[in-house]
């Protein structure tokens, strides 16, 4: 160092003429000077350098003099440097927050959501993270994520009291709404992922605010192993932003799970039954509600097994006017009414008359069409008594491939005081099938031209190719024909039921005749 002006002297108190540069100025500046000496062959390669001096940030520009000495001009750049650093930190936080929000918004499953919160926290906030959810009396749901990104969800038989402050956070009475430090020595084994690099040196607990009720608590763990990388982590205020988003996502997921469970319980009685063989007769059904996201609609079917092999089994397939949940509720009423009327099922006209009376109330503006069949095995054959109440008559698929419409006609139920219908007897030989269906099949619009109706002709042509098929295959085939015809177009509810006389009898069971 040859000389320095008063401002420089104030900045570098140990600086004076004759002092070695590296003893007076910060290392970054001394090194830049050394580099300058080596790079003298390239005179324009002398970019300014930057670095800290005490609490300040300086920019130093070298100006070489002709005699080989260099003048370093220093300017205070602290304000700009601080602003730039804040900006990049904010940008990083915003990017992480966007990633976190996107990932958390997507999931509506509480378990998955807890895992995600733990994993994202272990990725962005600490070495490892533990999410604990409140679940009174049902064990302690815990998601633990280690530094390797692996997450484990478990419901533990553990007491939240084992972690200081956890019980209060889960009950919504945390000692502080903010993060509190936790003594690492007090942590139970379940809160420590196996993949940690060493013992935990820092731990903190953050309550996750929910909607009304607390959503859980987030325990962050640090071993100190990645402290060098801590600068890359978002600042302390970020944990609070993260906790708010995580809490909202957990609450939404839990709310969704509760609603879905309620819907599933209420829906159970409205879903079509699974069909199988009864008293030596084969039954199969398919059901497709009109809306892609719906589970139930205005079509319905039931098979009520007879008391013994010689008693008739009652098959019902029907269609309530309208679609969706409201129509489904009425199908539930009709199915319950028919269940209650089962002792009278041998007289179809009387059964329909009573059902008609039950539906003819001012509170019920809807009507329904039905097809009924009383089915009994008779040796290798199956006998059916079939009645239509305003419904499309079923068709019989013969072994020869002939498809015959069953000539039954009748009045729909729930609209007129006086109704009539005819009952027709059908006999199925082994391998033959009687197929009941709703207009969702025949009135399906689509096809190669996009706007044609599937129609009775195509249904019968398709069924003709199903001669001898097992009933499950046959109903799936009809469903496929209708769905392929629709090709994704909107449609009405679709229901198909097949009643079949077994073609082959399992040799192990022997003939049931």
């Amino acid at each position: 160092m040859t000389s320095l002006n008063p401002a420089a002297a104030a900045l570098f108190p140990r600086g004076a003429a004759g002092v070695a540069l590296r003893e007076a100025v910060p290392t970054w500046l001394a090194k830049a000077h050394d580099r300058l000496g080596r790079a003298s062959a390239a005179p324009h390669a002398r970019p300014p350098v930057c670095g800290p001096v005490g609490d300040l940030w300086f920019r130093a520009a070298p100006v070489p003099a002709g005699d080989g000495s260099v003048t370093w001009w220093l300017t205070d750049d602290t304000a700009r440097h601080t602003a730039e650093r804040r900006l990049s930190e904010e940008r990083r936080q915003a990017a992480v927050l966007a990633e976190v929000s996107g990932a958390l918004l997507a999931t509506l499953n509480a378990e998955r959501c807890m895992e995600l919160v733990a994993r994202l926290a272990a990725e962005h906030l600490a070495d490892a993270a533990v999410v604990v959810a409140p679940a009174p009396g049902r064990g302690l749901p815990v998601a633990v994520a280690g530094p390797d990104g692996l997450t484990e969800y478990q419901v533990l038989r553990a007491d939240p009291e084992e972690v200081p402050g956890l019980e209060e956070a889960l009950r919504g009475r945390p000692p502080s709404p903010e993060t509190v430090a936790v003594d690492p020595a007090a942590l139970p084994g379940w809160a420590l992922p196996g993949s940690l690099a060493g013992p935990v040196v820092r731990a903190s607990l953050t309550p996750l605010p929910g909607q009304g009720l607390p959503a859980g608590a987030l325990l962050l763990l640090d071993t100190g192993a990645s402290d060098g990388a801590r600068d890359a982590r978002p600042g302390p205020g970020f944990a609070r932003l993260f906790a708010i988003r995580a809490g909202a996502a957990l609450s939404a997921a839990r709310l969704h799970a509760e609603q879905a469970a309620i819907t599933a319980t209420l829906m159970r009685g409205l879903l079509p039954p699974a069909l199988s063989a009864v008293h030596g007769v084969e039954y199969a059904g398919v059901y497709r509600p009109s809306g892609a996201s719906e589970r139930v609609g205005g079509d319905f079917y039931d098979v009520h097994p007879g008391a013994g092999p010689d008693d008739e089994t009652l098959v019902v397939l029907g269609d309530v006017c309208g679609k969706g949940l409201e129509a489904a509720v009425l199908t539930g009423k009709i199915r319950n009414t028919l269940q209650a009327l089962l002792p009278l099922a041998d007289d179809h006209q009387r059964l329909l008359g009573l059902l008609n009376g039950a539906l003819l109330t001012p509170a019920n503006p809807r009507f329904a069409t039905l097809a009924l069949a009383s089915v009994v095995r008779d040796g290798p054959r199956v006998r059916l008594r079939v009645t239509s109440a305003g419904h499309q008559p079923p068709v019989v698929v013969r072994r020869s491939g002939a498809v015959e419409e069953v000539p039954t006609r009748g009045t729909l139920v729930g609209a007129f005081h006086r109704i009539t219908s005819t009952t027709v007897e059908v006999v199925l030989e082994p391998g033959e099938t009687c197929v009941f269906f709703t207009d969702g099949v025949t009135e399906a619009r689509g096809g190669p031209m996009g706007d044609e109706m599937f129609g009775q002709r195509r249904l019968e042509a398709g069924l003709s190719r199903c001669a001898g098929m097992p009933v499950h295959t046959l109903v799936d085939h009809v469903h496929m024909l209708a769905a392929e015809w629709l090709g994704g177009n909107d449609h009405d509810d679709i229901a198909v039921v097949a009643v079949g006389a077994p073609y082959r009898t399992n040799p192990e069971e022997g003939t049931t005749a």
Partner: protein, 361 residues
């Protein structure tokens, strides 16, 4: 072992699963005889073949043969469906046989489903059974799963991953929506099935998190880290497939109805005997034309000429087996080209590739 059916047996096939066993199962399925078919399969297991080997080295190759026999016009479509149904029931019986139960699950849940519109459930069922035997808990949703049902199922059960099956290439645009829907809900997707191409190129193009060529491969990919990973973040279809920006796929699918009608009208002009076709013949011709349009649309969607030319080669074989000369496809392609929207360079390129393929065949 030399066979006329390429997909029949692999190099690691156990000694019990001989050609003769294969022929016996095939004969039982062709006759729709479930009891005989179950007998063949149970005998093979009792003779020492593992359940996984029976599934993948006996049931799967015989299933491939069912499809090949239909294409060659040696069995009817009803026989094909009955045989497939019996094969599925035999599989189910094997899976539920008390002596051959899979181990209790210890590896988390996987949801296995076919995309909406896909009716080929057997490949997905094979994957489901193999995964069960390897310790996964499996939710099998079967064929033709409406996408909203699949997503609701995912939210309800939170599997480690979704194994998505698609056999028919024309369903690839739907498959893409299903992949994106599962990922948007937070679940990684393993794609499988013939539609994704022999090398899985379409699985990659559609942004699936993984792809496997068969059931064993699916078990490996899921076991080596895909299950439980984070899926790709939610995104728009055009981000996976930038070529969709030219709107050609959209304009061809929007014009589907007109394209089919104009091509059919053109065919009637060229072949007056078509006017005397029965309703059934007319339906069949219209279906064939609609299939050509659908495959053109799917080829546009993934921008792959081979999807279209592969379909034409297969169709030509099916037609030839039924005594219809394959050259009858040429006028369809000509008429379709004439009916295309004005600016459709990719669609024209694909049709030209199709004509070249037919000429070479």
């Amino acid at each position: 072992m030399t066979t006329q059916h390429p997909a029949r047996t692999g190099p690691g096939t156990p000694a019990v699963l001989t050609q003769e066993v294969h022929e016996r199962l095939w004969a039982a399925l062709r006759d729709g005889d479930e009891y005989a078919a179950s007998g063949v399969v149970m005998d093979a297991v009792e003779a020492g073949a593992g359940v996984e080997e029976v599934l993948l080295d006996l049931i799967a190759p015989v299933q491939a043969r069912i499809g090949a026999e239909w294409a060659a016009n040696r069995i009817t479509v009803a026989q094909e469906h009955s045989a497939t149904a019996v094969n599925e029931r035999v599989m189910a019986a094997l899976a539920h046989h008390p002596a051959h139960r899979p181990p209790p699950p210890h590896r988390g849940r996987i949801t296995v489903a076919c995309v909406d519109g896909e009716w080929h459930a057997l490949p997905a069922r094979l994957v489901a059974e193999v995964l069960r035997r390897r310790g996964w808990e499996v939710g099998f949703l079967g064929a033709h799963v409406p996408t909203p049902h699949l997503v609701a199922e995912l939210h309800a059960t939170a599997p480690r991953a979704v194994a998505l099956s698609c056999s028919m290439p024309r369903h690839l645009p739907v498959a893409h929506r299903v992949v994106a829907a599962c990922q948007a809900a937070g679940f990684p997707v393993l794609a499988g099935g013939r539609a994704f191409g022999p090398d899985g190129r379409h699985a990659r193009a559609l942004g699936a998190d993984g792809w496997a060529p068969d059931a064993r491969g699916a078990a490996e990919v899921l076991g080596s880290g895909l299950a439980g990973s984070l899926p790709r973040p939610a995104h728009l279809p055009v981000e996976d497939l930038p070529h969709l920006d030219d709107q050609e796929y959209t304009s061809v699918t929007r014009a589907r109805r007109r394209l089919v009608k104009e091509t059919l009208a053109g065919l009637e002009d060229r072949f007056p005997p078509m006017r005397a076709y029965t309703d059934v013949q007319r339906d069949r011709t219209a279906e064939d034309v609609a299939h050509v349009v659908d495959h053109l649309a799917a080829a546009l969607y993934v921008d792959d000429d081979v999807l279209f030319t592969g379909f034409l080669t297969w169709t030509a074989d099916v037609l030839t087996a039924r005594g219809v000369p394959a050259v009858s496809l040429d006028p369809t392609l000509d008429l379709l080209a004439a009916a295309l929207p004005a600016a459709a360079p990719r669609a024209r390129r694909i049709l030209t590739a199709g004509r070249a393929e037919l000429a070479a065949a």
